[in-house]
């Protein structure tokens, strides 16, 4: 039997292809076998593109055979969160309302990765319309945390994180509106990044909250993160909010030298709400940065305690409009046997959306409705400005901010589904980042006593992903341990 490549990183695969020690087809086969072996337990994939993936791999192989050079991601197998539009297969956001939907176009990030020769293995699970922090809101299935199958993988990009950690792909794409990349990356134990708002085109990302959403990668290490960011970043004329700011070569930014870096620790993040074990993990991670020459200071983000309220006003308001289009007219589910258009809307939406989505639509509709706009939506926009200002001021004093990604490690499936507010509060460390539009990443910082991963969150100045990745890289090189692989088989 051929070698198993499923635990390889992207740069390892590139070296193998480049030196001819493996073919892209072998590598893809290897991952397809791995999916077959473990996905029954993890349940990350909602659609596996076997034939498509093998065809893409063959394309890479024939390029190699013709002696053509290949890019660093050519032949590297990826998984795609089902919130991204793809011409191949279905795009459903794991919602009943979009069951069977076929997008007539590819998202810009998909186009760019395809150009780079990436092999797409399929679509992975998520909370319906990216609304959730545990992937339990998927209408398709519940994805498990590969480290403990009783636990959630985090969310909403739980499938993307679990697939990377379970070696069911090398890297994956997710979307992050309030932590949906960083939190599952932390809970599953991989690298995940939410780029600066405007760094990566949102064209083809099914919108949840347009002013907060960003697409970002999940990878096994920071080196791979840089490779993916090199491909997906940059201005796209189809997205008016994509910034026309040059994209540096992130791979070149990865140096094991952070002596010029000042790390800020926001005092508002280190409170009693933080699980003591998590606190200890972050503290030792910060010590490693310090040992590598970084200066560590305390900073203040005084409006932190308002972030969750602001976030759930803005994201639900935007979502209430973004999701209005799923009405059974042009695509998606339409309830049967309806007498008129109004009945069609009501039945289609009520049958088509899950509980959390309906709750958020109602909340968002409420905060925008006549008489409440100023008290909620406008107020939230003002406080959002204050939160952004907090970060601007903090970044006067430091280059990056270090925090926990999540206040707790992965929790058990079903533990928080009864109380939506409690679930919302678990997003405490990730939400402000989206409100401020700044970049953030999560890098694994060890396992807890019970064997669950924890994540160090690093936040940076707008469009300074390079520094963020450099600090994460230095940490990764010097943390002195590897969290290893989950005991799946």
């Amino acid at each position: 039997m051929a070698r198993d490549w499923s635990s390889a990183t992207g740069h390892e695969i590139h070296d193998a292809l480049h030196h001819g020690t493996a073919t892209a087809s072998d590598i893809t086969q290897s991952f397809l076998r791995r999916i077959e072996a473990v996905d029954g337990k993890v349940r990350a994939y909602v659609d596996i593109w076997k034939d498509h993936a093998l065809k893409q791999a063959e394309n890479v192989d024939s390029r190699l055979k013709r002696g053509q050079t290949i890019g660093p991601l050519a032949g590297v197998p990826f998984a795609i969160k089902d919130v991204l539009c793809t011409k191949h297969g279905h795009t459903t956001c794991c919602s009943r309302i979009l069951k069977g939907y076929r997008s007539p176009f590819d998202a810009t990030v998909i186009e760019r990765l395809e150009q780079a020769g990436v092999v797409f293995l399929g679509k992975v699970n998520m909370d319906e319309f990216a609304m959730g922090s545990s992937t339990e809101n998927s209408s398709v299935q519940v994805t498990r945390n590969p480290w403990d199958l009783k636990c959630v993988p985090g969310g909403s990009s739980g499938g993307s994180a679990a697939a990377v950690v379970a070696d069911e792909c090398v890297a994956s794409l997710g979307s992050d509106t309030g932590g949906s990349i960083r939190q599952p990356a932390a809970l599953c134990g991989c690298v995940g990044m939410k780029p600066t708002y405007g760094r990566v085109s949102r064209y083809g990302l099914v919108a949840f909250a347009s002013s907060l959403d960003q697409i970002g990668p999940f990878t096994k290490d920071v080196e791979d993160l840089a490779l993916v960011m090199n491909v997906i970043s940059g201005r796209d004329e189809r997205d008016s909010t994509s910034a026309d700011i040059p994209v540096p070569n992130y791979s070149q930014a990865l140096r094991d030298d952070i002596s010029d870096i000042t790390v800020g620790l926001p005092k508002e993040y280190y409170t009693d709400a933080l699980n003591p074990e998590m606190r200890q993990k972050i503290e030792s991670a910060v010590k490693i940065l310090e040992a590598r020459g970084a200066k560590v200071i305390e900073v203040s983000l005084p409006h932190t305690e308002y972030a969750i309220a602001v976030y759930y006003i803005i994201c639900t308001a935007e979502a209430s409009a973004n999701l209005a289009r799923f009405d059974g007219v042009r695509y998606g589910y339409r309830a049967p046997k309806v007498a008129d258009v109004q009945e069609m809307y009501a039945k289609t939406k009520t049958d088509g959306y899950g509980r959390e989505v309906q709750r958020r639509i109602l909340l968002g509709t409420y905060v925008l409705s006549s008489g409440y706009y100023d008290a909620y939506y406008l107020k939230a926009q003002k406080v959002r400005a204050l939160i952004r200002k907090d970060f601007e001021e903090a970044f006067q004093k430091c280059n990056v901010i270090a925090t926990p990604t999540s206040p707790t490690p992965a929790f058990e499936i079903g533990a928080k589904t009864a109380d939506p507010l409690e679930m919302y509060l678990s997003d405490i460390y990730t939400i402000s980042v989206n409100l401020a539009g700044i970049p953030g990443l999560s890098v694994p910082c060890g396992l807890t006593q019970s064997g669950l991963p924890s994540g160090l969150q690093l936040l940076g100045k707008p469009f300074d992903e390079a520094t963020l990745m450099r600090v994460a890289y230095a940490y990764e090189k010097n943390r002195g341990f590897d969290i290893g692989k989950p005991p799946l088989t």
Binding site: R102, P104, Y197, G198, S211, E237, S240, T241, A243, H303, E305, Y306, I308, A309, Y312, S320, A324, D327, V329, R330, Y331, G332, Y333, R334, V338, A339, D340, V341, Q342, E343, Y345, A346, K349, T350, Y353, Q358, R359, I361, L362, L363, T365, Y366, S369, Y376, L378, K379, A380, Q381, K382, V383, R384, A385, L386, R388, P420, L421, Y424, L435, A436, G437
Partner: protein, 98 residues
């Protein structure tokens, strides 16, 4: 304290085109009240002189040139339609709901 009433839930559901059964309405009165009460936290802040933030990016004037590009062919446009006659998207009777 309940922040919102069943009538509020019904009003908002009508705007959002959701039809909720009685049990769901009751449940939502509780859940939404909890969440909205939590949001009252924002009233602690005096924001009179704060400009609301609409965009995180300080961008203005992003435009496209007035040039016609390719449209979808009709078959593709109608590909996902729940009901079509091959030319139009078909919808049930439209009562005057506007």
């Amino acid at each position: 304290m309940t922040k919102i009433t069943k009538a509020d839930v019904e009003y908002v559901a009508a705007l959002a085109q959701l039809s909720l059964d009685e049990v769901t309405k009751e449940r939502l009165v509780g859940e939404l009240s909890d969440i909205l009460s939590y949001m009252d936290k924002l009233n602690e802040l005096d924001t009179r002189d704060i400009e609301p933030m609409m965009h995180v990016l300080p961008m203005t004037n992003v435009y496209r040139d007035d040039v016609v590009g390719p449209s979808l062919d009709r078959e593709t446009a109608l590909m996902n339609a729940p009901k079509t006659d091959g030319e139009y998207f078909l919808v049930p009777r439209i009562l005057d709901i506007e």
